[in-house]
């Protein structure tokens, strides 16, 4: 039973080993501390929910989340400063979790995004007072049937769903493991760990509750479907390689692993490898919203509470692209001649369809959803490069994109009328006349989405297209640039609408947010401009963090 890399998951299940020889798993707590801190904070949040009186929960939950996330970020920085991002990077927890440059970079991005998102979750000044109490964007009582007597009672009692904070933290912890997962089961478990809280969060909108619940159910059903495909793929890969660890599978693919006699008949069956590999990739493409696995995106983005949409759009994409990168670069690099052409097709379809369909959208949130699909296509172009430049450009793009997205959705929460957020585009006409600052900030975000120079969007797009072109994917870059041009149309159209149309009488007003949302929007705008004007430092940082541990 030598030759196969042991891992936390398979050791116990291996029938060849006598039970009394199960070794104690070795867990490097210090290296896993970022994730453990977030999990700890999440558990603490559950306790707060259970033990504290209702009045104190909001402040306590916000405090726990902010402190937990900040501590996790500090831990990530400490690990990186200690050299875990470069020289000391290795695989922790019995081969289950990688601690290396890409993992730490992406975890850092996710934690920062979550920190900013926590501020938008906690915003309580935008909605009008309900029975004299300040409320946030979340339902008074998630379990109450919309429109029922129970719901009205909950509203009257001034309930708020502070459970969103522990849910957010659980999702964040899952997302942090996802790009660091170094075996297929960890990958699957972390996928579920971050997906389930997201399904719940989607269902918790205070306004338009039916739309919100519908989006959650759609997301859940399709997410479950994609999880099943992913799991099936994992099973096939295990059948192919006899191991679920990334390194082990890669060894079998490259033919350097020694075969176990028991599995010799089935292993190295290329059909299993190809089918299994592509099914796992499909599972991840679902999460990044690549065509044709993108259809949940507009419906869910529209229905979910806007702070959740912002968080989901930013952080899920980071985590899922991280996992996709690791899978393609660590497990399947030997297969690149098989998967690259297919991914070419997916990238082209994603860019084109995302950009083209966005042209006829009339709802801001749906527009941003399609724009996120198009952006997934651009990022895929960087993934396909299969080079260190490709990795660093994708890392940079993800960091840049996630802050633009968070900022943009935070602005969407501000534009309101009597029915809550006014998301129909026609309602945004002339916004620049009434609220020049808000419109200008949104315009900055839109320009960043469109990839106009001096915004982070340009630097990111430039980096991925450059990496793709250097890797020989010139046609892909051409399609990408054309799609960008199409995409620029609908971004600029919103700017034109805001600044050059007459305001509607009785149009929406811009709510004055608390410092929480102001901080979130400012963070987004500052990151957008800093990464756009002086991207070199961050490109270098991403470049240094671009080597995967094997």
């Amino acid at each position: 039973m030598t030759g196969i890399i042991h891992s936390l998951w398979t050791t116990a299940a291996d029938p060849a080993l006598p039970l009394d020889r199960i070794p104690t798993p070795k867990i490097e707590y210090a290296q896993l501390s970022p994730v453990l801190i977030v999990f700890g904070a999440a558990v603490l949040g559950v306790l707060v929910e259970a033990l504290l009186p209702r009045r104190g929960r909001y402040v306590a939950q916000l405090g726990v989340s902010v402190v937990g996330l900040a501590a996790a970020f500090a831990a990530i920085v400490a690990l990186a400063a200690d050299g875990y991002a470069s020289t000391k990077s290795h695989i922790a927890a019995m081969g289950a979790v990688a601690v290396d440059g890409p993992a730490l970079f992406l975890q850092g991005t996710i934690v920062l995004v979550a920190l900013v998102a926590a501020f938008t979750f906690a915003e309580r000044r935008l909605d009008p007072l309900v029975h004299g109490r300040r409320v946030d964007s979340f339902a008074a009582q998630g379990a109450a049937v919309p429109g029922s007597e129970q719901e009205q009672r909950a509203v009257r009692a001034g309930f708020t769903t502070t459970e969103v904070f522990p849910l957010l933290l659980f999702a964040v912890a899952g997302m942090m493991i996802f790009p660091a997962a170094n075996d297929l089961l960890t990958l699957f478990v972390s996928l579920e760990v971050f997906s389930l809280p997201l399904y719940l969060l989607c269902a918790l909108a205070r306004r338009h509750r039916l739309l919100s619940q519908e989006s959650a159910v759609k997301y859940f059903l399709l997410g479950a479907f994609s999880s099943a495909i992913l799991l099936f793929g994992i099973a096939l890969l295990y059948g192919y390689a006899g191991t679920i660890s990334y390194g082990g599978i890669a060894d079998v693919v490259s033919g350097t692993a020694r075969m176990t006699p028991a599995l010799a008949n089935t292993t190295a069956n290329d059909a299993l490898l190809l089918i299994g590999g592509s099914m796992v990739v499909v599972g991840l493409l679902f999460k990044v919203a690549a065509v044709p696995f993108h259809m949940w995106t507009p419906d869910v983005y529209q229905g979910a509470p806007t702070p959740v949409t912002g968080f989901m759009a930013a952080a899920t994409k980071v985590a899922a692209f991280g996992a996709l990168l690791r899978l393609l670069y660590v497990v399947l690099p030997g297969l690149r001649w098989d998967w690259r052409p297919v991914m070419w097709g997916v990238a082209i379809a994603t860019m084109v369809i995302g950009a083209v369909v966005a042209v006829t959208q009339t709802d801001v949130k749906r527009l941003l959803a399609y724009s996120s699909i198009a952006h997934a296509g651009f990022i895929l172009a960087g993934v396909i490069a299969v080079s260190p430049d490709g990795v660093s450009s994708v890392l940079f793009y993800l960091a840049a994109y996630s802050f633009v997205t968070l900022g943009a959705f935070a602005v969407v929460t501000l534009v309101r009328d009597a029915g809550g957020e006014a998301t129909h585009l026609s309602r945004w006409a002339g916004l620049g006349r009434r609220s020049p600052l808000v419109a200008a900030v949104f315009a900055v975000f839109l320009l960043a989405f469109a990839g106009i120079p001096l915004t982070s969007g340009f630097a990111g797009k430039f980096a991925v297209f450059k990496a793709a072109a250097q890797a020989g994917a010139v046609p892909l870059v051409i399609v990408g640039v054309i799609s960008s041009a199409v995409a620029a149309f609908f971004y600029i159209r919103v700017i034109v609408l805001m600044f050059f149309s007459e305001p509607q009488p009785g149009g929406p007003s811009v709510a004055v947010p608390s410092p929480l949302t102001v901080t979130a929007i400012t963070a987004g705008a500052v990151m957008t401009l800093v990464l756009g004007v002086a991207p070199q430092y961050f490109l270098d940082l991403a470049g240094k963090a671009s080597v995967f541990v094997r």
């Binding site: 159910v217 759609k218 059903l221 399709l222 479907f225 994609s226 495909i229 290329d270 059909a271 190809l274 089918i275 590999g277 592509s278 099914m279 990739v281 499909v282 679902f286 065509v291 044709p292 696995f293 259809m295 949940w296 507009p298 419906d299 001649w337 098989d338 998967w339 052409p341 297919v342 097709g345 997916v346 369809i353 083209v356 369909v357 966005a358 042209v359 006829t360 340009f458 630097a459 430039f462 450059k466 199409v486 149309f489 004007v533 002086a534 991207p535 070199q536 430092y537």
Partner: protein
């Protein structure tokens, strides 16, 4: 020390950011924040200057590389600064005079409710101008160049409620675009020729490029310089730019903006030295503008517009000098600095007069003001003596050198250019004496306001009095002190620079210097200049000092009438450019409608149609979505397998 260079630009930029983003909260302190950051920038400049003086001549250039913006292949867009003697001179002028103008504006704009915004723009102006002169490559210089254009647009149109101000701002911006186009094409040609934007490598290899290319680059750079420096044929915006608040005029005319063109030509001296045709073009433009501005200045009755004509003419001197090559660069910059002092002083003085006269700008309605505003009279008078080149004052030292250098060019060209420069000195004396006499001497041609019940307000700004009649008074200290400081500079700067040829020695390592072979001696030039000067002053005195000045302007000769209309510049632009442009656009619009639109609209329609069709797929049913996922998975798996099979 080199890290301070970034802070030099950063301080006013920070000020602009804070003041513009800070909103009404900063209304009460905003103007002092603006002044403080301008002063900080000046202090940093002075510290760097002291540091530079302590170093041997060969090691005075400091560089500071902040970061590179998207380097790819051979393309490097560096944000990097270079501080040598030339930039240092500009830094001190921009921040020094700029700070004084900031302080003056505190008083001048005291009653304007948008004073904070005004100071934000002023800071932005300084930051852009500093970026322009500190950049170590053409691309960053261009960023500063455009920043200056933006800031001038915002400031000229600051009183945008006046249609004339809004129009003037647009005019300045559009005319400048023409010049900017030239500069940007020049930069592109430079990049394709030398493969870099940085000054050092471009200048090192300048001579290796073909003569034709260098001439093209030189002419394009000249076009850019014409726009910013208001040289013929792109001069038309300068007069209208007087619509901005007077401190803005002072800033544009003395410390920033119009000096940018001279800087560009001097900085690119290596290129011009290698392209004699372009160099001659610079001289011709300078000489023509010199006369143009002087003639316009003689006919204007609006005090600010007369001064604007004079600026145009003085910048013409600088351009002429810069076009002379190594004989002239140093004197171009020296005149630029001395001009910075006295022109700023003159504009601030004009502002002070207007402030006391209910914003009246027509000199025919002034007269005899010297008793009412003595400080303004003395400081304005010193600026006047400096600009006409009164012996011993600043203008004398710098302008004489330019005239001398023009003769030193040699040959027929030298005689023509020298003659024009000499004649210009006489006209300068004439129109400046006219301004001085009409404003401060003679009998008063205004109706004094009846004494108000309370003591006359010493508050500056726009005041409304019974019947809107003026009651001239001296301005508050916050306005007079900057004027006094500038007057001191107008008197002594030129002399200080000339002691032991200090300025020539200072700038020589950057621009190079040669004496040339003058057909006339220094003594002869000085004597001739003084004679011309005396004639000019005497003529003006005879015309405006001895005889009474009519309150309504006489019809005047054909030339006077043309000069009042800025020598028909706008009529020319209208007939040739606007009409011609209209014809061109009309035919282009026709082409556009028939050909381009067809293609564009066709594409747009097909994208839109495709979009609408693809949208149908998004029907909201989970079952359809799931089917699409299943189909997608099947296709993906099949395609992967197929790839292996092929």
């Amino acid at each position: 020390m080199d890290h301070l260079i970034g802070a030099l630009v950063g301080a006013p930029l920070l000020g602009a950011g804070v003041l513009l983003a800070g909103g009404r909260r900063l209304d009460r302190a905003g103007h002092w924040i603006g002044c403080l950051l301008a002063a900080v920038s000046f202090a940093l400049g002075a510290a760097l200057f002291a540091d530079m003086l302590g170093k041997p001549t060969g090691q005075r250039t400091l560089t500071s590389h902040l970061f590179s913006w998207v380097p790819v292949g051979g393309f490097r867009a560096d944000v990097a600064f270079q501080l040598d003697q030339l930039s240092m001179t500009f830094v001190l002028l921009i921040t020094g005079v700029g700070t004084l103008i900031h302080i003056y504006s505190v008083g001048y704009m005291a009653h304007d409710e948008n004073r904070r915004r005004f100071f934000g723009y002023l800071n932005l102006f300084l930051a852009a101008m500093l970026l322009l002169v500190l950049a170590n490559n053409y691309l960053l210089l261009y960023a500063g160049w455009e920043g200056v254009g933006l800031a001038s647009y915002l400031l000229i149109g600051f009183w945008q409620h006046k249609p004339s101000a809004a129009t003037a701002a647009k005019k300045a911006f559009i005319v400048n675009r023409v010049g900017d186009m030239g500069l940007s094409i020049a930069i592109m040609v430079l990049f394709t020729t030398f493969g870099t934007f940085s000054f050092a490598p471009v200048f090192a290899h300048a001579t290796s490029a073909s003569q034709a290319k260098l001439t093209v680059v030189g002419l394009l750079l000249l076009l850019g310089a014409c726009g910013k420096s208001a040289q013929v044929p792109l001069q038309s915006w300068l007069g209208d730019a007087m619509e901005g608040p007077t401190p803005v005029s002072a800033l544009i005319h003395a410390a920033t903006m119009v000096t940018a063109g001279v800087y560009l030509v001097t900085r690119s001296g290596v290129i011009f030295n290698a392209a004699p045709t372009a160099q001659l073009a610079v001289c011709v433009v300078g000489a023509v503008t010199l006369m143009f501005g002087a003639i316009v200045g003689c006919a204007k009755d609006d005090i600010k517009k007369a001064l604007a004509g004079s600026t145009m003419s003085q910048i013409g001197y600088m351009m002429l000098a810069a076009g002379l090559g190594p004989i002239g660069y140093v004197f171009a910059i020296m005149h630029l600095v001395t001009h910075g002092f006295f022109k700023a002083g003159l504009f601030l003085g004009a502002g002070s007069v207007m402030h006391g006269m209910n914003d009246e700008v027509d000199m025919r309605k002034y007269g005899g003001l010297r008793g009412y505003m003595p400080i303004t009279y003395v400081t304005f008078g010193l600026g006047y003596l400096a600009i006409i080149g009164f012996p011993g004052l600043s203008g004398f030292w710098s302008k004489d050198k330019i005239i001398e250098a023009a003769f030193a060019k040699g040959g027929t060209e030298g005689w023509i250019l020298g003659g024009v420069a000499l004649l210009g000195a006489g006209i300068t004396a004439y129109y400046m004496t006219r301004v001085m006499v009409m404003t401060f001497f003679g009998e008063r041609r205004w109706q004094p306001a009846p004494e108000p019940d309370t003591a006359p307000s010493v508050e500056p700004g726009i005041e409304v009095h019974p019947g809107d009649l003026p009651h001239p008074h001296e301005s508050p200290k916050v306005m007079t002190i900057p004027m006094i400081v500038l007057a001191v500079g107008s008197v002594f700067a030129g002399g200080l620079f000339s002691i032991n040829s200090a300025f020539v020695k200072w700038l020589q390592p950057v621009t190079g210097h040669s004496e040339g072979h003058s057909p006339v001696t220094t003594g002869e030039v000085t004597a001739a200049t003084l004679v011309v000067l005396a004639v000019g002053v005497a003529l003006a005195w005879a015309q405006y000092g001895r005889a009474p000045v009519p309150v309504t302007a006489p019809r005047g000769s054909l030339l006077t009438r043309a000069a009042r209309r800025d020598l028909l510049q706008d009529d020319f632009n209208h007939v040739v450019l606007v009409r011609g442009g209209e014809h061109l656009t009309r035919s282009l619009v026709y082409l556009d409608h028939s050909l381009v639109d067809g293609a564009v609209n066709g594409t747009a329609a097909s994208v839109g149609g495709l979009s609408a069709r693809l949208r149908q797929v998004q029907n909201g049913y989970v079952r359809s979505y799931a089917v699409s996922m299943l189909g997608g998975t099947a296709v993906l798996v099949a395609a992967t397998l197929l790839m292996r099979a092929v």
